[in-house]
Amino acid sequence: MAVDLTPVERPKSAAPWTKISAQSKTLMFLASTVPAVIYLALLVVNNFDFMSSLLVVFLPMQTVASALVGLKIYGRRGILDGLLVVATLFLGSFVFVLLVSVLWSVVQAGFATLSPQFIYQNDVYVTPTTGLEIGGVGHAILGTLLVVGLSTIITVPLALATAVYLTETRGKSRGLIRTLLQAMSGLPSVVTGLFIYSMLILSGFTSYAGWTGSLALIPLMLPTVSRVAEEALRLVPAELRNGALGLGASAWSAFSMVTLPAAKSGLVTAVLLGVARIIGETAPLLLTTSLANKTNLNLVEGGISTLPTYLYGYVSLGYDTSIQRAWGAALVLLMLVGILFVAARVASSTKSAKKRK
C-alpha cells in the first residue's frame, strides 16, 4: 500500500503552544484573583502593614497558587512558568504604582496650589511664609522660556548640522564625532554647570546671568538632538537621495529638496525631545544663574528664575507654604514636559513617518 507522502500544508502561523483549553484558562484566572481577594479580605480584617504584608502574605500566596496551576497545566516544569509570570507582573505593576504615585502627588498637591494668579504673577512681594493668595511662577515660566529658548536657538542648528555631517558627508572624523556625542550624552549635568561657571564666571568675564545658564544647557541638549536627527536622516531611503543626485542635483539641493522634506517630522521630533531633555535640568542652572523674585526679561544681566531653580529654591527654604509653591511649580513644569512629549509623539507619527516604515 502506497503511503501518501505529500507534505501537509502548514498554516502560516502555526503556534500550537498558544492554544490553551478553557479549563486551563479558568484555572489561570482563579489563580490570579483568589489570592488577591483573600489578601484584601485579610487586610481589611486584620489591619496589617501594607508593604510588609504584601511581601510576606500576598506574594507567597500568589506564588504558590501560580505554581500549582502551572503544575496542573504543564506538569512539573510549569511551576517555574507560573513563578515567572508572577514575578513579571508583580514587578511591572510595582513600577506602574511608582509612576502613578509620582504623577498623582504632583497633580494633587500642584492643583491645590494652582490658581490663575499663580501662573502669571511673580514673587516680588512674597516671603517664604506668605500665603498662596499672592505670588506665582509667572517670572519663572518666562525665565524658562527665555533660557531654554536661547539654548534651543544656539543648539538646534549646530546639532542638525552635526547630524548632516554624520549622514550626508563622507567626512573622515564621523566615527570620532559619533563617539564624542555618545560620551557627551552621559555627561553629568552638574559638570556642564561647573564648566560654564569656571570658564565665564570664575574668570570674571561675566556675572550670573540668563545666557550663562543657556550656554550650560547646550552640551546636554546637543547629543540628544543630533542623535535623534541622525536616526531620522538615516531613515530616508538612499534611493531617493541617489535619484536626486543622479538627476544632476547638487548635494545641497538634493539635501534641501529631497532629504530634508522626507526627514522633516523626524527632525521636529529631535528638537522637541532635546527641549524636553533640558527643560527640567536644575543643577547646571543653579551653578550659572541666580534666583530672582521679579520678572527679568534680560538674558544678559541680572538674576533670572527658571521653573526648576524656582522649585529647588522653595524646597530648600523648607516652610510649608514654600513647599506648596514648589509643588505648584512642579505641576507647571510637568505640564510643559507633557506638552512637549505629546507634540513629539504627534510629530513622529505623522504620515511621512509611517510611510518610511
Binding site: 509620582v102 502627588s105 549646530l158 553629568p188 552638574v190 524646597v315
Partner: protein, 325 residues
C-alpha cells in the same frame, strides 16, 4: 555582421570634493558644526582641569580622591572626596540592583506577554516616566517617598538587623542611602527598560519559536534563549544607567544626608552617605576660593568616571546589536 564588443565603462574617480559654491558652503557648515562638538568637549576638559589643577597639586590625586574630610573652616582647609565617591557608587549600585529586575520585567511584559494595545500603552507609560524631570522626582522623593522608604528601612532593620548591612544605631531612618538608591532606581528603570526592550524586540523570532516548538515553556525559553541572547545589551543598558545614576544631583541632594568624614561602607539604612554631584551642589553656594577649586576637581573626577563607564557601555551596546552596524 559587426562583432559585439563588450563596452568597458571608463574608469573614473568619483568626485569627492564639492564642485559648486552652495555645496562647498553646505559641506563647510556641516563640517564646522561637527568639529565644534570636538572643541566643546576639549573646552569642558580644559577649563575644568585648569581650575581644578591647584587642588590636585596641593592635595595630590590619590589623597584627594581616596582621602576623607571636607572642611573649609580650618586654618589650612582640607578637601577630599573619598566618602562621596564611594557613596556615589554605593547609591548607583543600589539603584541598579533595585531597577534591573523591574526593568527586565517590564521589557519582558511589553515584548512577550501583553497583547498589542496594552503593550503600546505600557511602553508609552515607561517613556512618560523617563520624561519626568529629575527635580520633580526629587520633590516626590522628599515629600512622599522618604517617610515610606524610612518605614521600609526600619522594617528591614527590624527583620534583618543582625546583618551588618541593615545596622542602624542612629534611631532615624530618613535620608539614608537606601532611600537615595530607590529614588535613583525610579529614574533609571525607564533607561534600562527601553534598551532591554529594544534588544528583546530584535531577537530572532525563529529562535523563540524553535524553543517553544521543541517543548520549551515560557520560563525555559526566557532563561535559556532570551536572556543569553540579550545579555550583552542588558549589561550595556545597565552601565548607561549607572552613568546616569552617578551624575544625579538634585534628587539625591534632597533625600540624602551627606557625611564627609568617614566612608559608610555598606550600612544602607543608616542616615549617612555621599554623592559627588550632590556634594558639588551642597558646598557651592558658600564656597571659598580654594573650595571652588576643590569642587571643580570633584567635577573632574565625576566626569572622568562617567566618561569611562559610558564609553564601556556604548561599546557593549554596539557590540550586542550587530544588526545595527
Amino acid at each position: 555582421m559587426s562583432e559585439l564588443t563588450e563596452v568597458v565603462p571608463p574608469k573614473r574617480k568619483l568626485k569627492v570634493k564639492a564642485s559648486s559654491t552652495p555645496d562647498r558652503i553646505f559641506y563647510g557648515i556641516a563640517t564646522a558644526a561637527a568639529y565644534s562638538t570636538i572643541i566643546l568637549v576639549i573646552a569642558i576638559m580644559f577649563f575644568l582641569s585648569l581650575r581644578a589643577w591647584p587642588t590636585f597639586e596641593k592635595f595630590g590625586f590619590v589623597n584627594f580622591i581616596f582621602g576623607s574630610g571636607w572642611d573649609n573652616t580650618l586654618e589650612s582647609p582640607s578637601f577630599a572626596i573619598g566618602p562621596m565617591l564611594y557613596g556615589s557608587f554605593l547609591i548607583a549600585a543600589l539603584g541598579v540592583i533595585l531597577a534591573v529586575p523591574m526593568a527586565i520585567s517590564i521589557a519582558y511584559f511589553i515584548e512577550f506577554m501583553a497583547p498589542k494595545p496594552l503593550a503600546k500603552t505600557t511602553a508609552l507609560l515607561v517613556d512618560l516616566l523617563a520624561a519626568i524631570p529629575s527635580v520633580v522626582i526629587g520633590l516626590w522623593g522628599l515629600s512622599i517617598f522618604s517617610p515610606v522608604g524610612a518605614h521600609w528601612g526600619e522594617m528591614l532593620h527590624d527583620a534583618f538587623g543582625f546583618l551588618p548591612m541593615f545596622e542602624n544605631d542612629a534611631d532615624n531612618f530618613l535620608r539614608t542611602p537606601f532611600i537615595a538608591g530607590f529614588i535613583v532606581a525610579v529614574m533609571i528603570v525607564p533607561i534600562i527598560a527601553s534598551i532591554t526592550r529594544e534588544i528583546f524586540s530584535q531577537i530572532d523570532q525563529d529562535l523563540i519559536k524553535a524553543s517553544l516548538a521543541l517543548g520549551g515553556n515560557r520560563e525555559s525559553t526566557f532563561r535559556k534563549v532570551i536572556l543569553p541572547t540579550a545579555a550583552g545589551g542588558i549589561v550595556g543598558g545597565v552601565l548607561l544607567a549607572l552613568g546616569r545614576a552617578l551624575g544625579e544631583t538634585v534628587a539625591i541632594f534632597f533625600v540624602l544626608n551627606l557625611v564627609f568624614d568617614e566612608v559608610n561602607w555598606f550600612r544602607i539604612v543608616l542616615p549617612e552617605g555621599g554623592a559627588i554631584a550632590s556634594l558639588i551642589l551642597s558646598k557651592f553656594a558658600e564656597a571659598t576660593a580654594d573650595e571652588v577649586s576643590a569642587l571643580l576637581a570633584a567635577g573632574v573626577v565625576l566626569f572622568a568616571f562617567t566618561l569611562l563607564i559610558n564609553s564601556i557601555a556604548s561599546f557593549i551596546v554596539v557590540k550586542a546589536q550587530p544588526w545595527r552596524k
